[in-house]
């Protein structure tokens, strides 16, 4: 046992394990912090490549030192050794060397901090509002990008690639944190405050992220993606978002779905251009039903491909691989195609409509709403019949 555990062998074992460790990384982890896809993440990556190797080398040196010490000075029957009390010169040296190394790291770090905080060259602005447990994005009027009126979406934030986008983050309830590792570090979204975060993607593509500050029950289920499109594709996306509402044709399942939507969903969810039977615009009133006062805007819902705080896919597995795995040049077209009927992930969407709180834990039990004055934090179970769900799914498919 003692020989087997000899320090020399142990060091070798540790070394082998260490190397295996480093090789043992997941491929294509969507939130990998070491695969930058935008200039801000690259700046961070550069700092990583400065400090991690230094730490690694120091670690290896220290490990070797420990191994040597344990082997060389183990008790082999030698007499009690010389009782040295210290060598100040050596200790001072060993204090100064790390200080010097860290000073160098410090200089680069401070420069990086101020670099990443730069926002004077912003090209586009998006307001991001976190809420339990989804993200809302609203695009203020920016004529140069075709945004003639404010656009509100949620879950997937669409930006033009190669553009310096600045997010103005805030929250409606508790502290959340916006984090898309491929594009930048995270920044907390704090209620009552506005925090700025730069977002820029080099190439078109879809970049995954998650809320990164514990925000309650479904923190694990609060996700988002940033979708970067080429400038032309982005203009097309904007045009689509601002396009008129397509009312479904009379006597179709979708038309009946529209009625169900007007009865049930419009209480919280807004669809721009939707009109009631008497011709008045159907305005959602989430401030009456939801504690934080808002619910996801479902205009052009099928132009996104995730829902429920980007927790579930709107597209089925096949189409998902198609869109998510597309190359930069093809991605835009595939994304803009939206979710068609044969790509729809009917299972998840129906399950959500059937009983949302079971899919994603929320504070939506009507009997337990006293602390929030009777208002929900999340979507309740609407007790819809399967029939209603059929109609709704047909209707939602028209929102493209």
């Amino acid at each position: 046992m003692k020989r087997m555990m000899s320090p020399r062998r142990l060091t070798a074992l540790a070394g082998v394990l260490g190397v295996a460790f480093l090789a043992g990384c997941a491929k294509n982890a969507p939130q990998d912090t070491w695969q930058p896809k935008g200039p801000n993440a690259e700046k961070i990556d550069n700092l990583n490549w400065l400090v991690f190797p230094i730490a690694g080398v120091v670690g290896v040196i220290m490990l070797a030192l420990f191994a040597v010490v344990m082997v060389k000075f183990r008790d082999r029957g030698q007499p009690i050794p010389k009782q040295t009390h210290g060598k100040p010169a050596l200790e001072v040296t060993l204090t100064i060397i790390p200080a010097l190394i860290l000073s160098v790291v410090g200089v680069f770090t401070v420069r990086g901090i101020f670099d990443l905080a730069e926002d004077k060259d912003t090209e586009m602005i998006i307001n991001v509002t976190g809420q339990q447990w989804w993200w809302e994005y609203d695009y203020p009027i920016q004529e140069e990008y075709g945004v003639a009126q404010p656009i509100i979406t949620s879950g997937q934030m669409v930006i033009p690639a190669g553009t310096k986008v600045l997010l103005r983050e805030t929250s409606r309830d508790v502290i959340h944190s916006f984090w898309v590792p491929a594009l930048n570090g995270k920044k907390d979204a704090v209620p009552g405050r506005i925090h700025l975060l730069r977002m820029e993607a080099d190439e078109p593509g879809i970049y995954a992220g998650q809320c990164a500050e514990f925000c309650g029950l479904s923190h694990a289920n609060m996700r988002m993606e940033v979708v970067a499109l080429s400038k032309e594709d982005f203009a097309a996306w904007v045009k689509n978002q601002l396009a008129d509402y397509n009312a479904p044709a009379k006597d179709t399942l979708a038309k009946q779905g529209e009625e169900v939507f007007l009865n049930q969903c419009v209480r919280c969810h807004q669809v721009n251009g939707l009109k009631r039977a008497d011709g008045t615009p159907a305005i959602a009133a989430p401030e009456d039903n939801v504690y934080a006062g808002a619910a996801p805007n479902l205009t052009k819902f099928m132009a996104r491909n995730t829902f429920a705080g980007a927790m579930f896919d709107l597209v089925n597995k096949k189409c998902r691989e198609d869109v998510w795995g597309a190359s930069s040049s093809e991605f835009g077209t595939k994304y803009l195609a939206g979710v068609t009927e044969d790509c729809l992930n009917t299972t998840d969407l129906r399950a959500w409509l059937r009983n949302a709180p079971v899919m994603k834990p929320m504070y939506a039990n009507p009997e337990k709403l006293e602390p929030t004055d009777g208002k929900y934090r999340g979507m309740p179970n609407l007790n819809l019949t399967e029939d209603d769900i059929d109609k709704l799914v047909a209707y939602l498919l028209t929102l493209r």
Binding site: A23, G24, A26, K27, N28, A29, Q31, D32, T33, W34, A41, K43, I44, L47, N48, A55, G56, M62, L65, F66, V69, M70, D75, P79, I80, P81, K82, Q83, T84, H85, G86, K87, P88, L94, T95, L102, V105, G106, T109, V110, I113, D173, V174, W179, G185, K186, D188, V190, P191, R193, H195, A208, E213, F214, G216, A220, N221, D313, P361, R377
Partner: protein
Amino acid sequence: MAIIERPEATPAVPGAPSVPATVTPSSSLGALKRPVTTTGWKSWLFTVDHKKIGIIYGVMGMFFLVVGGVEALLIRLQLASAEGKVLNASVYNQMFTMHGTTMVFLFAMPTANAFANYFLPLQLGARDVAFPRMNALAVWLTLTGGIILNLAWFLGGAADGGWFMYAPNSGPIFSPSNGVDFWVIGLQIAGIGSLIGSINLIVTVLNMRAPGLSLMKMPVFSWMMLVVQFLLVFSLPVITVALALLMFQRSFGATFFDVAQGADPLLWQHLFWIFGHPEVYILVLPAFGIVSEILPTFSRKPLFGYPFVVFSGAAIGLVGFGVWAHHMFASGLGPVSVAVFSVATMAIAIPTGVKIFNWTLTMWGGKIWFAAPMKFAIGLVVLFTFGGLSGVTHSVAPSDTQQTDTYYIVAHFHYVLFGGMVFGLFAGFYYWWPKIFGKRLNERLGSWNFWLMFIGMNMTFGPMHILGLQGQPRRMYQWTENRAGEGFFDLGFWNMIASVGSFVLAIGVLVFFINVLWTSKKEPKAPLDPWDARTLEWITASPPKEHNFDRIPTVTHLDEFFHRKYQEDHATETMTPIKTAEEILAEEEANGESHIHLPSPSYWPFVLATGVGILGLGVIYGVPTMIIGASVVLVAIFGWVLEPSVAEDFDYEGTSHDDGPSKELTTHG
């Protein structure tokens, strides 16, 4: 003089002038006598003896280690596979909150206090701490706090806002159950206990050292504990304030963290982390102290660079107050603040590095004996180095904005806290067990204990570095396949390894308890000085007599005990043994003092702690309970003040010999 000593009564004779009464001590009035039992459960409940109190802290700490450990195992079971179904979201959130809170406040701090209480007086050559009754109060308050914290599990759900309990999520709207209230009250009470204990120990160290024991001859463990107590004194009030603000917000309608009323949620974060960062040094410095005793003993050389180790400990404590916002790099502080704290965090790596170098150089040129305490001590040095290095990577603030709130941070702090602090505490157990209980813990089981814990720890927390850097955030009750990457080594694989590792770790800890049982039944009595140790606490019986030292030793050297055993020949650089430990102890016994006055046990610390607990529960359950609690507190305070200063017949009479000088220990506690 307490007031209840009755003066001698001489019946008054009518007409004669009244004779002024003389006062004889210990003849008490009314109900207020002090308890005198020395065995049985009463002797533990009413004890003020620092050694018994240390054991109570230790038992409490190990119990909560198991509780927190079970919570951790449940977490790992839930995260072993994608979309686990072991715990639902609500229970999981309670689980990780309580795991963190229990481990930090109910396991780590009490166990460190166990060693501090038991060994600080012994290492200083004192007979007890400065304020024995306060010492007892501290331990019972800590236990009360721990009970209240965990009562929540049975009374509507535990706290579920994370151990850091950020506002506004901790407010009454977003955390409607009583769990957070229990958390606030339990922590507040435990915090009062820690604060009392810290003042006690500072006064002990500064005032009660043996003659000749200057500060720079104190063992490093005593030094580190002194620094820790100062850290406690300055950081606990901050969290007291934070908890009070939160309590008023939740229970009495205040709006300190209510954004609609103009509050800034970052207030909580600042208050919490101004406490929270020094807290982590409070956790780890005791372990540093312990290994600074063990490494020299088992290398047969003194600690390399004693002054540097002491000053770096103090520096860590001091600079530790200047780095708190490195927990807030992503919180929207602004680049100037972030830059300042980033640089300060790098600065604090330097004194920590100094310690690691000094420990390694202590072993260099030594005669290393790999007994169980030494294994754990070396384990600490190795694992803490890794944890410290990942900490340095966090100090680069832009990198930290990718790392914070991911499993990379979880990996870092578990390496420094588990690999650092817990290994240090276990090293302390193995090292000092023969002194406390008279037997050495079984060496073979100790080896299994160490290796299982070492392997388990690396298996559990090593993969978390990868998990974090590849994008798995913390505090999530489930992870999903579509964020887990592809390939054999995807995030699912590493989650599974971590979960398996946690069970290996649990088995390792279990082996420790098996060892304790085995040792109590099967191990023979240990010799007086099993490790050829260096410091004063070994010049006592095993276990020490109630009064610790028959004669308070006079100290002339650092590592006094070692210098009494060995004579150093500077010319030939050899150490010649001149006395054995048994001889030294016999000599002390022979010259023991005749009349040793010890502090008497007392009921009131226990009663007062209970009253404080009831008062705390009253914040949750209404004013009538608060009134009851306040009455108990009032009665206990009066009882404490009015009880006789000594119990009758409690003093220790030394072994018979000629009248030596009588040394009274004045206690005012």
